[in-house]
Symmetry: C2
Subunit: 243 residues, 2 copies
């Protein structure tokens, strides 16, 4: 379905507002984002901004949904990685880290969104979209675990269901990103590389689960190289030679 000129203009402005909001949030943080600020930066009036977004929170959720869409596509690519399920799982974990490195303050934004009182203010439809994205992400990771079970790479655990394994890894990953995004002086605590530390912790979980094939340092090295130069080459280039 094609849009009229007017509709296209509106859509364009919608995007403009979102971009400006993202910019402001990046430079000054969510707490300094104001509707008037956006309007001013875009050279429109406040009322016009309110025609696109019912409230500040609505902008936030839409930005988050954009980012989560990106995350989902990274996850999908990871899930199709041509190897065993263990490596795919590692790819997903890596993708998550990459995702937060590429975007400016994605973790921060999500954190805001999850705060008490925010969900209530947001449009039904954005919220639904958000929940679907979330379900999509979790579902994808879950299916990797299940495929590993089917393939016999992972034995059925006596005390952890597949979704519970996902929960653990998910906790680890998001927890690590949160700590990293916080203002804690991790290096002062003796942490050299937060991402590498959490990734290695995650490998320990996989080994603890006896998820085959077990860890090998050589394989990890090769795998990371593959991620950097093939699977996520483009994304890695956006940040330069690190992680």
């Amino acid at each position: 379905m094609t849009m009229s000129r007017k509709q296209r203009e509106i859509a364009k402005r919608h995007t403009l507002f979102l971009e400006i909001a993202r910019q402001i949030m990046h430079e000054e943080g969510f707490h300094l984002l104001s509707m008037e600020g956006i309007a001013e930066a875009a050279e429109y009036s406040k009322g016009t901004v309110y025609q696109h977004f019912t409230c500040k929170e609505e902008i936030l959720v839409q930005l988050c949904n954009q980012d989560m869409g990106e995350l989902l596509s990274l996850f999908q690519r990871a899930a199709e990685f041509d190897s065993n399920n263990r490596d795919r799982m590692i790819a997903v974990f890596y993708a998550h880290q990459l995702w937060s490195c590429i975007g400016d303050n994605r973790t921060d934004m999500l954190q805001h969104l999850s705060m008490h009182g925010v969900r209530d203010k947001v449009t039904e439809s954005s919220l639904k979209q958000h929940d679907e994205l979330e379900t999509g992400l979790v579902g994808l990771v879950n299916s990797i675990v299940e495929q590993a079970l089917e393939a016999g790479e992972l034995k059925k655990q006596k005390h952890l269901l597949a979704p519970e394994i996902v929960f653990g890894i998910w906790s680890l990953s998001s927890g690590a990103q949160l700590l990293k995004a916080s203002e804690l002086p991790l290096n002062e605590f003796g942490i050299r590389d937060a991402d590498m530390s959490s990734l290695r912790t995650m490998l320990l979980v996989l080994d603890g689960l006896d998820w085959q094939p077990l860890h090998s340092e050589a394989h990890l090295k090769k795998l990371l190289k593959q991620f950097r130069t093939q699977l996520f080459a483009e994304e890695v280039n956006q940040i330069g030679p690190d992680s």
Copy 2:
């Protein structure tokens, strides 16, 4: 040093305000906490509240500091648990979960505090206290890892320093609590018991590290019972027969 009557009165009101703030935050959330609200509930005027706290955030940080002090004392008890270092580590993890179950919305509060723009508004001294508490907590966990290394229960890891091991476990624990505190329908995802899942994931990490003595289901059962009926008996009773 003893206080004058006046000083005692002021201290008492200070506590009163904090308690009221905690109450409001519990019932309505941080976003609905207002200085006027506190003043009203305490039957004082706004100005008086401002004589105790420079701003809303200052109240938040002081409440967090209270709670973190409690957490630290739980951790200390865990660190003195009469067993090996692995079990002490598990006790710490358990204590963290217990702590968030006992308090009303502790995770939420900490999350707020870590948000961008909050630290800047807070008193130097409260901030310092907060950082010291944080350092104390991390340091304590770190020292358990180091004792395990010294005792030979844990071999030196080629790729993870002690603080990095702590980082992983810390990420896992705080990530899990965050997800639990969020409005995600974990049970719909198939997660039966979030705390138990993250605890078991943490055990997998320990096993992955080859931290002796390795997991045994029987031992875990015994250990949890000890936690519930001895080490943290009092705290567990505050919530009833679960976890």
